[in-house]
């Protein structure tokens, strides 16, 4: 009947317009939350730069009271770089520390290379299997390097390897390090400082992860810092600046830091053991660990801190190819969804403080539902244009909140970087950063939103392609699941 047909058409148009309006509000809210985080981070970074003096680290280095650290490096099929990684770890500027490399059933020459390079001998170490792990085949020690231990075990996955390392570690603090990360030489001094300042409360400390593509590396050290040549990694550099410097620090100040990158994080061993160590039930074990820590400590009503140090500590390789980036972000987002499903009880639960009331709802709305809103938002704007109902001023408004606001925040992040750590000294690099900060919001972010939508469907279908990636070694752990 004709009247009904008209209604239907009208309804469609009305809903598209209504949805468009909703999208506007969404973007305003999202970017304002980012703005708030940015401002909080700005204050904290400036404060941090002001109160940190070089001599502090010198004192930590020389003090007898400095806490010793066990560095755990899970490794699978890392024959190419493992010896270099260990060598550069040995050069770290720190008093007392040990390195535990856990060879997680590598099918290549990882173990052989280590044995040869460091003259390893089998040894006996009595240790308590505090955390359940897979079978350990052997333990190796080096005569010339007394603080290196290599553990050979059957394949069990990254979490299993980390737990094994924890079991065998000697010291009260342990540091998880990815086998392909390059750690700054003063990194340990920097992340241990919060532990020295609040020894009873501090539970975990994370630091800034930077992208190594484009940097010159020699002997496990970054000798010259530069931006990558290719476009995709440069986008990620800007993204990391925004996510770490102006995002994560903000969360840390608000006492609700959820992510400490597996590429580099320092933890209090006893607390990690108390929550059962690392789990293999999600794709991003580092995120899951921190969430578990928050949950466990809040349940026990203990006073604790999990903080983020604005200091750069670690360099990691960013995917250069589209497909690799897709797989990485897919895994991160799936891991986020998995952790969420496991800990849904914390949502809006006042027992869990800021995390329950603010952070988790934020993640739900903007990280999980957000990508849908965004993708649909762009689609509906496009649809409106095609149908001829697109309002020019609406479109401008949309551009304003969806793109410009974002560009503003990206450039603000670059500014924050410039006034604080200035790791990119070249003028050309600065120009490229600003340029890409603009374009990051026109294409890259939208792409990431698409990835997340796909990841959601993968999550629903419970596809966990962990094994498929296995042959290329452990993927770098979750560094940026927040802030698309």
């Amino acid at each position: 009947m004709i009247p009904l047909a008209v209604d239907w058409h009208d309804l469609l148009l009305k809903s598209i317009l209504g949805f468009n309006e909703y999208v506007i509000y969404y973007f305003i809210t999202l970017n304002s939350v980012y703005l708030l985080l940015f401002l909080v981070s700005l204050v904290e970074v400036v404060r941090f730069v002001r109160r940190t003096f070089f001599s502090d680290y010198q004192q930590i280095l020389k003090s007898e009271m400095t806490l010793p650290i066990s560095i755990v490096v899970p490794a699978q099929n890392e024959e190419r770089g493992i010896v270099d990684t260990v060598r550069s770890l040995l050069q770290l500027n720190y008093g007392e520390f040990e390195i535990l490399v856990v060879n997680d059933g590598s099918k290549d020459g990882t173990l052989e290379r280590l044995v040869r390079a460091f003259d390893l001998r089998t040894t006996d170490r009595i240790y308590r299997r505090t955390l359940p792990t897979g079978k350990v085949r052997g333990i190796y020690a080096s005569l010339e390097v007394p603080n290196l231990t290599v553990v050979d075990k059957e394949h069990g996955g990254k979490s299993d390897a980390l737990n094994t390392g924890i079991n065998l570690s000697r010291y009260p603090l342990f540091c998880s390090v990815d086998a392909d990360s390059v750690i700054e030489e003063n990194a340990l001094l920097r992340v241990v400082k919060p532990f020295m300042e609040h020894p009873e409360e501090m539970v975990a400390v994370g630091g800034i992860v930077r992208i190594i593509n484009g940097c010159e590396v020699r002997d496990g050290r970054v000798v010259k810092i530069g931006l990558p040549r290719r476009v995709l990694p440069v986008f990620q550099v800007v993204e990391y600046l925004r996510a770490f410097l102006s995002g994560r620090i903000g969360w840390s100040v608000l006492r609700s830091l959820l992510i400490i990158s597996g590429a580099f994080g320092l933890y209090k061993k006893s607390e990690v053991i108390a929550v059962g160590g690392y789990d293999s039930n999600t794709d991003t074990e580092d995120l899951e660990l921190v969430v578990k820590l928050h949950e466990g400590l809040k349940k026990r009503k203990m006073k604790y801190r999990i903080v983020f140090v604005p200091d750069p500590v670690c360099w990691t390789e960013a995917p250069e190819k589209f497909k690799t980036l897709l797989m990485q972000r897919n895994r991160w987002h799936r891991g986020l969804l998995q952790s969420f499903r496991l800990h849904w009880r914390m949502l809006l639960n006042p027992k869990y403080g800021v995390i329950g009331i603010v952070t988790l709802p934020y993640f739900l709305l903007f990280e999980m539902l957000g990508p849908f809103v965004e993708v649909l938002g762009y689609l509906s704007v496009l649809l409106a244009w095609l149908l001829g109902i697109l309002n020019m001023e609406f479109f401008l408004l949309f551009l304003l909140v969806a793109i410009f606001y974002g560009v503003f925040l990206s450039i603000a992040a670059v500014l924050l970087e410039e006034i604080s750590f200035r790791r990119y000294p070249a003028w050309e690099d600065l120009a490229r950063l600003i340029w890409y900060a603009i374009w990051e919001n026109i294409g890259y972010r939208q792409l990431l939103a698409l990835f997340k939508v796909k990841a959601f469907f993968d999550f629903i279908r419970r596809r966990r392609r962990w094994g498929e990636m296995g042959h290329r070694g452990f993927r770098p752990a979750a560094a940026v699941p927040d802030q698309h």
Partner: protein, 407 residues
């Protein structure tokens, strides 16, 4: 409505452009300043270095009076070099800082309304080491910002004058544990005078500070603190007991042995561990048997410290360790073998297998069989595979072959 929007867009656009310009300007300004600073430094540094190395009486005489950025650069050069120097050269740097008015300026900055300026001033004064700053630094120890207090404390620590000690000990009461640790560091570097003062004020310190104070006394190797420390071996707090034992070990008087032997039976394992470590350092023969007993302790730290202690006691200790290889207690066996391995004793005996002397070889074989009976053969197996001498490899392989091992 669209006009408003377009205007907003313009505004936002301009803000963005402005922001980018700010970044660029900031960077450009900074680079200019750095370049200028580097130029001034290149110009002035040689003369400053000459002064530090002994030329002339006053730096002010060698340079035209520095103004503006030059003042900053000269102070920077002086402080940079102060970091790694001591003795006359360092004293000359302090003299120059006083002479050119840097001390005076920084002391004035100690009263700045902005806390980071105060902290920076204290930091710089710490390197300048001028006693003229002492009274103001002492006053700053009551600053409301903990960072400022810490830096003032550190600066006072560097001054090493008697007057700085009391306020530092006062600061020990600071509830912030990090401060207490840092003050402990500072005090232990200040020599016996600080140790004496610490002892006097000891009873008045809160518990957390006491633990750090005990450490200080040990690190300062203050013998006069011995009586106090021995008393503390019976303190109700186990941390204090443990640190007291540790400190007594650092001081190193063998006469402490009887008291430490008692601590070796303390119910708390950290105390036992520290007592074992200290006894090892003191090296008295009457400690050998109790340490051997301690090899059976339930806690790994205690066992390891006991084993290490025995190792550092020379012949008697090593003999006790070798003996312990056949102990009934599995933990004791492991600890003993691990320590002997680490000390290279195992390798020594393996080398003896190649000796032309029959008796030496016998002794070595006996020893090695004991190790095998203790079920710690990994190291031996490795050596059996790799040793350069055929004779040694052969003998080892025979011992390690199942037939030879006695249950």
């Amino acid at each position: 409505m669209s006009e408003v929007l377009i205007q907003v867009l313009w505004v936002l656009g301009s803000v963005l452009v402005l922001l980018s310009l700010c970044i660029i300007a900031n960077k450009a300004l900074r680079e200019m300043r750095e370049r200028r600073g580097a130029r001034i430094r290149r110009d002035l540094e040689p003369r400053i270095l000459e002064y530090i190395n002994g030329k002339g009486e006053r730096l002010a005489a060698l340079l035209p009076p520095p103004r503006g950025m030059e003042r900053q650069v000269v102070e920077e050069v002086l402080l940079d070099n102060a970091r790694f120097l001591k003795g006359k050269a360092r004293a000359r740097i302090t003299a120059a800082c006083e002479d050119l008015g840097y001390v005076r300026d920084r002391v004035r900055q100690l009263r700045s309304p902005r806390w980071w300026k105060r902290a920076e001033a204290a930091e710089k004064l710490a390197t300048m080491k001028s006693p003229r700053a002492a009274p103001d630094l002492i006053a700053l120890m009551r600053d409301e910002v903990p960072d400022v207090r810490m830096r003032a404390a550190r600066a006072l620590g560097h001054l090493e004058t008697r007057t700085s000690i009391k306020p530092l000990i006062e600061a020990f009461r600071d509830p912030n544990r990090w401060s207490a640790l840092r003050i402990a560091d500072i005090l232990s570097g200040m020599g016996p005078g600080a140790a004496d003062e610490l002892m006097e004020s000891f009873a008045t310190l809160p518990i957390k500070a006491r633990v750090a104070a005990v450490d200080c006394l040990g690190r300062a190797r203050s013998h006069r603190a011995a009586a106090l420390l021995i008393n503390l071996l019976s303190d109700p707090d186990r941390d204090i007991r443990a640190r007291a034992a540790h400190s007594l070990g650092l001081i190193g008087d063998p006469n402490f042995t009887p008291d430490l032997l008692r601590s070796l039976r303390d119910p708390a394992w950290p105390v036992r561990a520290m007592a074992a470590k200290a006894l090892g350092k003191l090296g008295r023969p009457e400690a050998v048997a109790p340490l051997r007993e301690a090899l059976k302790d339930r806690e790994w730290w205690v066992r390891i410290n006991a084993a290490e202690g025995l190792r550092s006691m020379g012949e008697k200790g090593l003999a006790a360790l070798v003996d312990a290889i056949e102990a009934e207690d599995r933990y004791a066996r492991h600890a003993a073998v691990a320590t002997l391995e680490g000390a290279g004793v195992l390798d020594q005996y393996v080398e003896k297998l190649a000796s032309p002397d029959e008796r030496e070889r016998e002794k070595a074989l006996v020893f090695i069989r004991k190790i095998v009976a203790a079920e710690r053969t990994d190291h031996l197996m490795q050596t059996a595979a790799r040793h350069t001498q055929e004779k040694v490899r052969e003998q080892l392989s025979r011992i390690l072959a199942p037939g030879e091992v006695k249950a």
